[in-house]
Symmetry: C2
Subunit: 249 residues, 2 copies
């Protein structure tokens, strides 16, 4: 039986704005002695995509607003960092000492609106999430398909915390060419019982699987997943729950 295999794609250089990301990733795949095959999924950490898209800000150029200074004082945070988080957010979901959980303009609920100071390229720099991550994934996918001639999927991942459990897990923030949700509703189990409310967030499971070969400090920002049978037309946007039906917002 063919396994699902996850390869770390090594040797990506430090990435700057406008870098030819798809080409660099294909070079990395070649260094593995491999080439893309139909059904492969390339998982890319958000940070490299954001850097290529110029979504980096210098904190020393940020003028914190009165509101940012108030929040920063309450939660013991850098007010300039809070200011950038507020730019990226449509609402604050929870606030606590050293914790700021917001809903981003995309509709993600996560710490700091995804605005991250680690692995940013400098201590005074922050990296923001891509503006339209599904679209970023779509463009990367097009570049891969054009270069390789085969249909592949792309997932852009970030590590988010979650309620009730310690530890962040990698989730998808953008996707193209893959199934986002696998829907079992209306199907029946072998005893004839209808599977109710059962949808699987496959695109997030791909992101989590990829993290197993990435590692935070080793900076392996790319993984190649082979054999997962997840081709599709899903987007991460489709998986964001309507705030009106959300019980935790």
């Amino acid at each position: 039986m063919t396994p699902v295999s996850i390869y770390p794609v090594p040797g990506l250089p430090e990435i700057g704005r406008g870098a030819p990301l798809a080409t660099l990733i294909l070079d990395g795949v070649k260094r593995l002695g491999m080439s893309l095959e139909a059904g492969d999924v390339v998982v890319i950490t958000q940070k490299v995509v954001s850097k290529v898209e110029g979504r980096v800000r210098r904190l020393d150029a940020v003028q914190p607003s009165e509101r940012a200074r108030e929040i920063a004082s309450r939660i013991a945070y850098d007010p300039r960092h809070v200011e950038v988080i507020l730019w990226e957010s449509v609402r604050i979901v929870r606030e606590a000492p050293r914790v700021l959980i917001t809903e981003t303009r995309h509709g993600f609920v996560c710490a700091n609106a995804g605005v991250d100071r680690s692995n940013s390229g400098g201590v005074e720099l922050v990296v923001l999430l891509p503006e339209r991550p599904d679209e970023s994934a779509r463009q990367l996918r097009e570049a891969f398909v054009a270069a390789s001639g085969v249909q592949v999927g792309v997932v852009i991942s970030d590590s988010f915390g979650r309620p009730w459990r310690e530890g962040q897990v990698n989730v998808a923030i953008g996707a193209a060419g893959v199934t986002a949700l696998r829907d079992y509703r209306g199907k029946r189990d072998p005893d004839g019982y209808e599977l109710q409310g059962t949808e699987l967030g496959v695109v997030d499971e791909l992101a989590s699987a990829a993290e197993l070969v990435m590692g935070k400090l080793d900076r392996v920002p790319i993984a190649l997943i082979r054999g997962a049978s997840v081709s599709g037309e899903g987007r991460v946007r489709d998986l964001l729950r309507d705030p009106a039906t959300d019980l935790f917002r």
Copy 2:
């Protein structure tokens, strides 16, 4: 570079109370033409572990309490199912039409306290979570180590919904012989910026990765993960957030 590989372990028969689960899994691994190697992780869906442990109840033998009937009437649910959910719960976290999210006796926050009517073995049967899933994992691990002579890990998984995103994902409910949390706190990124609050819920990522080969309807309840470098002494219990510091309970 060696990939992380995930194999579906096929051919497990319908499992009943007291079935020799470790032996059946080892037989399945043998049918793959493989044998366990040091560092392998065996991921097992909760339902087979619960069935082996006799954690199955007949709904027609359940007498719903007044409280169960009230809740069932409000959320349009079977009052007998609600009664079993209440047995398994220490508190109700959210209630909505056809939704009951509780905190289980173990400390998990999930729908229906994990009491599931699908794939239960009969339409009038429900399957409860194992009473002590970390201990169940420890016992299975001991059996694997005794039979194979190599150090392996075990993860017991279940699919949980989550706030803010549609789609369930597989998470760990019990573990032995693996890292549960990988801790980057206090470490520094290449720019010298200290990684704050960064822990990764590796054991949940293993569970999610395994789901990619399982599938809800095909009943492949076992996956073998090879090459993940996650040996450790973690338990899922250690990853449950203290309710006192939880912002969403």
